[in-house]
Symmetry: C2
Subunit: 328 residues, 2 copies
């Protein structure tokens, strides 16, 4: 299995990307990595490996580049090249920690949608208190969504949770402002019966308050709301952790307290650690396109590569294709 990796994307590229790729090569014997990027920038971090091929690209898509046009304009960028690799079939999946908007726009333009999918969706696994995590989509591939899009998101999320996360009958929930069937805005009210009509284990509406308690395995929402909720959860956790740090350094006594409690606190941080869960996947395209977090360290890249290889191994794309074809 060949994964095409953008060596230049992300805040800590190329170092953390290359380190993560080397770790993945060591862990997964069936994996071959095609690493795209500027040879001279990547050279200091590279190691010889029989299943690693480095492909030089002259350009780099920057975080500040215009999302809609970056991949189209920078034809010899590492991001354009990894997308092209999955399009032409040179690679089975691709991965970048670079500009999210550019990767989404480029994915649509270069890789293209699966027949019958009207909108792709960005999906990621978020942590829960019990350590299992849940898949949420869409996180912002589309700012506006119709009810039919949400029903397709439910189908795609269900397949991913079965194939990659190993749930036999994932509990699929619709993110809403109340649990009763008639609650919500126009889109969720119209989406409810559509999702209910699909062959999956729909548990109805779920509320944002219950997400981290593991109320569902797959949570479906429009990209605007999904992005808001994702950032609210991340922002609240970050603020609380930083305030906690302040509380633990306020006095010598508190500092001692932190030392004594450190095992428990570390376990808490591990549970809430996004680097365990891989990246975000763009569902609905003709090949697996994985977006690793911009601030990915080597471990996060490793997890994202594992996620990409599981998507390939379990034929997620083909299953989505077949399910949508049958659904029409």
């Amino acid at each position: 299995m060949i994964i095409a990796i953008d060596g230049m994307g992300g805040d800590h590229a190329p170092q953390s990307v290359i380190e993560g790729a080397l770790q993945a090569l060591a862990a997964f014997p069936q994996l071959t990595v095609h690493l795209y990027g500027q040879q001279e920038v990547m050279a200091p971090f590279l190691q010889q490996h029989e299943r690693l091929t480095v492909i030089h690209c002259s350009e780099v898509v920057e975080a500040t580049d215009d999302a809609a046009r970056a991949v189209r304009r920078k034809k010899d960028s590492s991001m354009a090249k990894v997308l092209e690799a999955v399009k032409t079939g040179t690679a089975d999946a691709c991965l970048s920690a670079g500009n999210t908007g550019a990767l989404m726009a480029g994915g649509l333009f270069k890789v293209g949608r699966i027949d019958g999918i009207s909108r792709p969706a960005l999906a990621t696994t978020l942590p829960t208190a019990d350590g299992n995590g849940f898949l949420m989509l869409d996180l912002g591939a589309n700012a506006d969504a119709k009810a039919e899009n949400l029903a397709q998101f439910a189908l795609m999320g269900n397949i991913y949770a079965q194939k990659v996360r190993g749930y036999e009958k994932p509990r699929v929930g619709l993110l809403n402002i109340g649990t009763e069937e008639q609650k919500g805005n126009e889109v969720t009210k119209a989406a409810y019966p559509l999702i209910q009509a699909e062959s999956l284990h729909f548990i109805g509406n779920v509320e944002a308050r219950e997400l981290l308690n593991g109320v569902a395995d797959v949570v479906v929402t429009d990209g605007f709301t999904g992005n808001m909720v994702l950032k609210s959860v991340e922002g609240t956790a970050a603020t609380l952790f930083s305030m906690l740090k302040g509380a633990f350094t306020a006095s010598t006594k508190a500092k001692l307290g932190a030392v004594l409690a450190k095992d428990g606190l570390r376990a808490l941080k591990t549970k809430m650690d996004y680097t365990e869960y891989g990246g975000a996947a763009l569902f609905g395209l003709k090949a697996p396109v994985i977006k690793a977090h911009g601030s990915s360290n080597a471990k996060a890249i490793f997890s994202a590569i594992r996620q990409a290889s599981l998507m390939v191994e379990h034929d997620v794309i083909q299953t989505i294709h077949d399910t949508i074809a049958k659904d029409k």
Copy 2:
């Protein structure tokens, strides 16, 4: 100044409501309370006070009552009566910790909208790391909103932040999925120029991730998104605090650590304590209607009464009326 209080609403009613009211009577010499509810249920908690009048009502709006019809049907309920009191002018403001949906529907039906306001909005002050807090609206009075509604929410929030929270020039932000002007869904993209055209200090789009860092004093959004973000913040904080508790009781060593760090942890909890900030206000009605949190203790009721009295004292309703009239 007379505040009409629903003695029967909330998880800890009537006890916490009555205790909070008595505390407020002791603290604010200009305050008179009209307490509505079932005499025999409230009696054990009542004390004689020269500025407290108890008005018996035979019915109670329950948390499970149908929101749209509860107040209409239960004409002699404490909730219906407090709304009627502000409508007829018997009281200057009213307050309930009961069924939110019923209070919103009842407020619209009994109290009515200010001329020119097409949709009322539910607003509350959320905590920030610096302890200042910010006002967010709409939190769910309307599940769907138009751009013009958001512009009115901005005007109303601005007035409240000036009059009640004492900001001379509140920073008003539009909640969005990116900070750039062209970001967002159809509603936020259309709302941006409308808010920009109002006479207020509009700081543009703000992201959910930055809310608890105090990025704005007033945050404007539609009721669906606002409700989602509110519940995401509350849910994340609740989950983390509960995990923290687990971490601190995992071992004897950790328990000792918790004892040593307890001052700092308590300060953190105080900063994040919603009971400091009062309740949610329904903006856009002809009189102040305050919704205290369902789980309000006496302190939260006290804060909500203080909030109601500040709205009356600073003439928030009249200012909204005049501003909207001028704006048309």
